[in-house]
């Protein structure tokens, strides 16, 4: 028996899921082929056996107290010393805060010796610190340090893969942050510390936002089963203690409404959204910025066959700089809402062929924007990495499987740390993994029910691929009286008062992802050489002998002069661009009267005043001129404008590289 399965997530062209129908037979085949390592299996079995008794930590360890459960931070081992120092400096408020809370159970896994290696497994990492499968123990009885229960990964999923995070999360409470700008690390760190130490209280209000697009089974299921069930349970259990619950009717789940709940006047302390996450094809320029954005009610559904436009989804670009998200937590049930791996895990398993779906693994921008907001960041976002399958909601095609969601939300509302609350999904992952393994081991393939196996496999994937983005030790910060907006805004202003060390290092800062892209520019050099060698343009030279001819061939040759000039200039341009690609210069001027400004020798003159200059070289030799106001203080408003221009210049540079590669390959095709 075979049954077609549906997946969450809508492609940018308006279709859903894969470009081939995925049925239970295919998935069952995948399930039979997927092998867990011995370590992973042991860990999952232990997790299942010990679930109720230990709940992730060893006996005697209190998961709600950091001085008992411990807290640690993990960096990629390959991060340069300068980047390590810069990020550590930016995270200093958070690290010092957690160190004070965790005491001897605080750990830093930073640097080439202690950080996580590029291809290091979770088991190997733990082994280096004397730990194997089993519950977390931050400190042995004899005082030997173990590994803390709460672990914050600081790095891109290229440097520390999502798979490492999933596997570590089975035993530990794990979160991740990764920002492209140093200031964003500071904003997040400061936001958490301000929220936890200055008595911030958001109103006790949870909001449930479930989209229901026309003719769409996935969102029909989430809006009719998931959202009402969760909202009802929260209402019944928590309204006596002052919690208000907003359930947004599906027909009102448009983009404008979501703006109100995500930074607008109706922002709750806990926001739960369910719907499709948008999926862009590899190479689509929107992918890195908008992948996993939340598809809203404006999308007319799969039958309409309409490509998605920005009016139909909510992205990081839709969080304005004056949004009020400080202190909130969000749960986004959506495909790719947390991030995207480089290649499709399912495709690899099903067809033994790597199918790249992104240029590199990356974290979704919407959660990162929320966490690093300049008016104070959200504390954390729980979201799904990669494609989500419908079986998160319905088990075995009949039973609603919502207990993990329900328990997690209730734990959060009860004030449990976010990483601890997410243990319910880890329990589910462990349990289904064990069931799936047993099913496969105890029955022969001919006696197995494909539909059942497929259901287990997709459920297993769903449960595994949830990830917490943010510090796993954060909790909801609520109170009977909400901190007035003006006071919250004051907290927010604090997070943008960057210390001198951050400001000095920010323009030179290169996140590990950017370093990866610079390395990726290598092939462009090779391609440019190909073009240079192709400058003899034999084909064009042959044709040029027919100048003056009025036939089709003659007219073609008339065109060829312009064409040849273009090719020659392109070749010359590529060569110059590659020479020039080792540095990037951005200058910001202001003037009271642009009409009196002149441009001479590459610079503005006349009434123009140079206020900020950044010159970044790949070798790290950088020049930064910071604007000052009349009091000698850094002019932050202008500095922000300048930094936006630096980002713009980097985008333009990336676009240039893509154009170069594309042009070179096209030229190569023509010259053959």
């Amino acid at each position: 028996m075979s049954q077609e399965l549906f997946v969450n997530g809508v492609n940018a062209d308006g279709t859903i899921g894969y470009d081939i129908p995925i049925d239970s037979q295919i998935i069952a085949r995948v399930a039979r082929g997927e092998k867990l390592t011995r370590d992973e299996l042991n860990t999952l079995r232990l997790k299942k056996q010990n679930a109720l008794a230990h709940f992730g930590v060893a006996e005697g360890v209190d998961p709600e107290k950091l001085d008992s459960a411990g807290w640690g931070v993990i960096f990629p081992a390959g991060l340069s010393e300068r980047s390590c120092d810069a990020i550590k400096e930016a995270l200093k408020p958070l690290l010092e805060h957690r160190k004070a809370q965790a005491g001897e159970c605080y750990q830093e896994y930073i640097g080439p010796e202690r950080g996580v290696g590029k291809n290091e497994s979770k088991a190997d990492f733990l082994k280096r610190y004397g730990r194997g499968p089993g519950p977390a123990r931050p400190m042995e009885d004899d005082g030997t340090p173990g590994v803390p229960y709460y672990l914050l990964i600081v790095g891109s999923p290229e440097a520390i893969p999502f798979s490492f995070q999933y596997q570590l999360d089975v035993q530990y409470a794990v979160g991740r942050i990764f920002f492209e700008r140093l200031e964003d690390y500071y904003r997040y760190a400061r936001s958490v510390v301000e929220a936890e130490t200055k008595g911030l209280a958001r109103a006790r209000r949870a909001a449930f936002f479930g989209v229901a697009n026309a003719d769409d089974r996935a969102t029909e299921m989430s809006s009719k089963l998931l959202i009402p069930t969760l909202a009802k349970a929260v209402n019944a259990k928590f309204s006596p203690s002052g919690w208000g619950v907003d359930v947004i009717p599906p027909e009102q789940t448009g983009k404008a409404t979501l703006s109100q709940y995500m930074g607008g006047e109706r922002t709750p302390s806990l926001l739960f959204t369910a719907g499709h996450g948008i999926n862009f094809k590899l190479g689509d320029e929107r992918q890195l910025r908008h992948q996993g954005s939340l598809v809203t009610q404006e999308w007319p559904g799969p039958r309409a066959g309409v490509p998605l436009t920005e009016d139909m989804y909510f992205s990081a670009d839709d969080i304005p700089s004056d949004a009020d998200v400080f202190g909130m937590l969000a749960f986004m049930f959506a495909c790719y809402g947390g991030g995207t791996p480089r290649s499709d895990n399912f495709w690899q398993l099903a067809f033994a062929k790597q199918r790249d779906i992104a240029p590199y693994a990356f974290v979704a921008q919407l959660p990162m924007r929320l966490l690093s907001h300049p008016r104070g960041g959200a504390l954390g976002v729980f979201a799904h990495v990669e494609r989500a399958w419908g079986s998160s909601i319905v088990w075995d095609n009949s039973v609603q499987e919502l207990e993990s969601f329900n328990s997690m939300i209730q734990a959060l509302l009860n004030g449990k740390p976010a990483g601890f609350a997410t243990e319910y999904f880890n329990e589910r992952y462990a349990e289904i993994s064990a069931m799936l393994t047993e099913e496969l081991q105890n029955t022969s393939p001919e006696n197995q029910d494909d539909v059942k196996i497929a259901g287990m496999w997709t459920s297993n994937n769903d449960a595994r691929n949830y990830a917490f983005l943010g510090d796993p030790a954060v909790r909801l910060v609520t109170g009977e009286r909400e901190t007035p907006d003006t006071d919250r805004q004051a907290f927010g202003e604090v997070v943008t008062q960057y210390p001198e060390a951050i400001r000095a290092a920010s323009t030179q800062f290169q996140p590990d992802l950017i370093t990866y892209e610079v390395v990726g520019a290598g092939p462009a050099v090779v391609l440019a050489d190909e073009v240079t060698s192709g400058e003899s343009f034999g084909f064009l030279t042959r044709s040029s002998t027919t100048d003056g001819d009025s036939s089709e061939a003659g007219k073609a040759v008339a065109l060829s002069g312009t064409f040849r000039e273009f090719v020659e200039k392109l070749g010359s341009y590529m060569s110059k661009a590659l020479d020039d690609a080792t540095s990037l210069e951005v200058a910001t001027y202001i003037s009271d009267d642009l009409g009196t400004v002149v441009y001479e020798s590459g610079k503005f003159a006349g009434s123009a005043r140079l206020r900020a200059l950044t010159r970044v070289k790949v070798d790290g030799d950088s020049l930064v001129c910071v604007p000052q106001d009349e009091d000698g203080q850094v002019d932050m408003a202008l500095w922000q404008i300048h930094m936006d221009m630096v980002r713009q210049a980097q985008e333009t540079r990336n676009e240039l590289m893509k154009t170069l590669v594309s042009a070179a390959s096209n030229l190569a095709g023509f010259m053959k």
Binding site: G283, D284, E285, R286, P307, T309, E310, D311, S321, L540, R542, E552, A553, K555, A556, V557, L559, S560, T562, F563, E565, F566, K569, L570, S572, K576, A577, L584, E585, V586, A587, I590, S591, D592, L594, V597, V598, Y599, E600, S601, G602, F604, A608, A637, I641, D644, M645, Q648, A649, Q650, E651, T652, E655, L656, T659, A663, N666, L667, G669, F670
Partner: protein, 268 residues
């Protein structure tokens, strides 16, 4: 509202309107600039109402994305067309110059038919019944090829002007210039802002920059896509100069794909 000042011809992507005024700003005299008149100015004139400005940007940004997607689809479509035609020739045992166009989309059908004209030098080709009817060959088809050739030449000339030079991008709000940027192809930016500019106006100029630099890159992609497309399609031709002869036809074909994408665009 979205203009390229100093351009001799319309933007092939349909994103910008050409204006032939001389660029008058700053008495430009950059060291890399051979002549001030060589520099194009991307000028974005926005209404004072921020919502209307935002809406204008959204519409243009969506157009740009549509164009990019349409452009990306061309190599694959041409590849399929070549395979389809070669397979048809093989199974029908016909001469290589005979291209069946039944069941093909209009742009592909027209491309194949025009290819026959330029490949064989025949100006009047009897088209099989039921296929794309171009009317009178001399009045419609040949001027069409001529026009495509002129447009491609204009695109290449525009790119020749822009390559190795920089462009100016300026954002004008309610007739007041907010900001100007000189941007080199390699990403270096020099920007001058009106003193005391608001954050919302800053973001408008950032969008202007993004739109201009992306559309500039798209034009290069269009040119190189046409080149590789001509190389692909020349596999169906007998003339040894096939790829060069096919250039204007593939450009015309690409223009049709871009125009179709613009027509299909969802109204905002």
């Amino acid at each position: 509202m979205f203009e390229i000042v100093g351009a001799d011809s319309d933007d092939p992507l349909g994103l910008w309107t050409a204006r032939q005024d001389q660029p008058i700003h700053f008495g430009m005299d950059d060291e890399t600039l051979a002549s001030p008149t060589n520099t194009l100015v991307y000028r974005i004139q926005l209404p004072e109402d921020m919502a209307a400005a935002d809406s204008a940007f959204r519409e243009r940004e969506e157009s740009m994305r549509q164009s990019a997607r349409a452009l990306e689809s061309i190599p694959e479509r041409l590849e399929s067309l070549v395979l389809h035609t070669q397979l048809q020739q093989k199974t029908s045992g016909s001469q290589p110059v005979h291209f069946g166009t039944d069941m093909l989309p209009d742009p592909e059908a027209e491309l194949l038919s025009l290819l026959l004209v330029v490949d064989t030098g025949t100006e009047s080709v009897p088209l099989p019944e039921g296929q794309v009817d171009f009317g009178i060959m001399d009045e419609v088809v040949l001027p069409g090829i001529e026009q495509a050739r002129a447009q491609l030449k204009a695109l290449l000339e525009q790119l020749n002007r822009e390559l190795l030079h920089f462009a100016w991008i300026e954002t004008v709000l309610a007739d007041q210039i907010m900001a100007r940027t000189s941007v080199r192809w390699t990403g270096h930016l020099n920007t001058i802002w009106t003193d005391g500019i608001s954050p919302s106006h800053v973001s408008l100029h950032a969008r202007s920059l993004r739109l201009a630099t992306h559309s500039r890159a798209l034009k290069v992609r269009l040119a190189t896509t046409v080149m590789s497309g001509a190389a692909k399609i020349s596999a169906l031709m007998v003339n040894p100069a096939g790829a060069l002869l096919a250039l204007p036809l593939v450009y015309r074909y690409a223009s049709q794909i871009l125009a179709q994408a613009a027509e299909l665009r969802t109204p905002q």
